[in-house]
Amino acid sequence: MHIRNIAHKFLYSQVSWKSSSRFVSSKFVAPSRPTLKLSDEEGGKNIDGRENPKLFSEEYIPPQILPEWHSNKLKYKLERMDCLRRRNVVEIPEFYPGSILSVTVSDEYGPEKNTKFVGRCLWRDGFALACKFVLRNVIEGEGFEIMYHLHSPTIQQIQVLRLEKWIDTDLRYLRDADPKHCTIDPNMIAQAPTPVSQPLPVFKEKVNLGDRTWWGWKFDRSWPRPYNAFIEEHLLEEDYIERDRLRERQTYMKFDICRHYDTRSLKKQIMTEMEKNQKRIKNIHKSTSWQPN
């Protein structure tokens, strides 16, 4: 055969140009897709301030009740076990007041039988199953706040869109501040959080309060004093009497021993307890239909 004929066969053989296996080398390896969920290998080990929420979370710490015999520790153990049961079903991520969340709740009157709400978390309070958090969003100039139970069974998904940690844990003064802090796009795209092996940077900027005749937040009842808002500078012109009353309250509150709750020893106990619970949960025999004869 002529060489040109042989070459012709090679080039225009049965293999089509679409299945271009001959343009791909065997050494090519596709890169891994970046995901928001970081595994232990990528992120690293949990450091002290950012534990796995199944082992330790702020709501597992019991409230301070003095004297000690007014509280019962059995109840704390039973309730933490119920929290673990819910967390094994739905992933409840770590978040702090100031971070932006989106929550989908199952609702019989909504399209696709669920409703979604996006907002900034103003506060998070309560022990174990009674833990609640509030999301605020300003839609078309009108402010909306919705309160959810963290462990409620109607919540389908909790997603953290932006993980922020503010110095204050009670951000209700944002009702009186510039609405730009709380206006959040409902179609916001999630931002990747800092990995768990690094400490979270804390938000230390201050917010300006607006001119209002009616306050949405009782600034004279709050302790400790909020850091992330300009309060004194705002009150200079208007309420001198309230400012003096504020100062009187603050002088004795910082020396009140009952307001200082040391939870460092409790943290270790709770972590060991939850590790044991995770092993024990699978072996518990449960029934919804048992009746004594």
């Binding site: 039973l78 309730e79 119920d82 049961r85 739905v90 019989e108 009674a130 518990i284 029934s287």
Partner: protein
Amino acid sequence: METLHSLKSGSRYKDRYTDKFGVRSDKFVPVSKLPAPRWHWDYDLTEENTDFMKQMSQVHDEELLSQQSPLNDDEWSNSPWEQGSLRCGAVGMKVGCQPLWFRDGTYAVCTLVQLQDCHVVRYIPKEDYNTKVAAAIVGCKNTNPFHRNEKYAEFCHNAGIPLKTRCFRFHITENAAIKPGTKLDVTHFRPGQYVDCLAKTIGWGTQGVMQRYKVSGGPSDARGSHGFHRRIGSIANRSGHVPKNTKMPGQLGGQYVTVRGLQILRMNTRYNVLYIKGRMPGHTNQFIKISDSSMKKYKPQTEEQTKKLLGPFPRYRPTEGEVIPEDIYHESVFPLDEPTITFS
């Protein structure tokens, strides 16, 4: 007057003692009105001997409980249920409050009650107690026998059980005769059953009319009122006398109150804890008397209804080879193990 008790425990009697009119007169208080001297039970024992005595009391309690065997329970025959028959209840301790979710997605609060060492202490038949109805005394939570008198120790040891802190009395029919010494567990009740709870309310002492009866009182100083803030106003109409049951300050709380018609939704057999829907009187670690409800709509009329509204009559007897689950839920309760609630 200082006693060894006050010296040892560090407490001192008041130097100035008041009589029943609230008058303090150190010189003229008679000796009979002063507090009686009480010595601690181990005032004349060494430390080794007190430890030994405590150990022996524990050993004695364990021996008493081990002598109870299921064979002894068959001595008392169990008669069947009839309409109008009453069953014994149980005594527990209030542990706290916890939220609960149902399969609809609705939310409720329930109180946890723990039946800690609940034993029947005495059964009094109809003729001895009251010719109409029999009685049973049930006790809760073991105590130190050295802090009680000998008469109470006999009362408890006759039943073969250690001493109890608190006992309550139940009215029962002779159908439901129960042998003293039987242990009452959580299985004595049924999930979905309705129950009455009796307990002593939190004591607030003498309180005014606004706390006690929730009246609105008067306006503040800013609105110009002089000397009329937390008062009722008028106490009588034109009758000329103050009628009975007028609202005035006095004792608030510290009294026994029943709450009727509470439902048991969940049980835990490992810790003997009942999850009862609603709230009940008393602080945490308070003793609560739990009995089958006396409300007309929750009283069973037929035998079929006893299987929903009443627990096992007269008490629970385990069958051989039965494995009791640890967590028992009612049908309407949503256990948090299951996937999220979705509406279709």
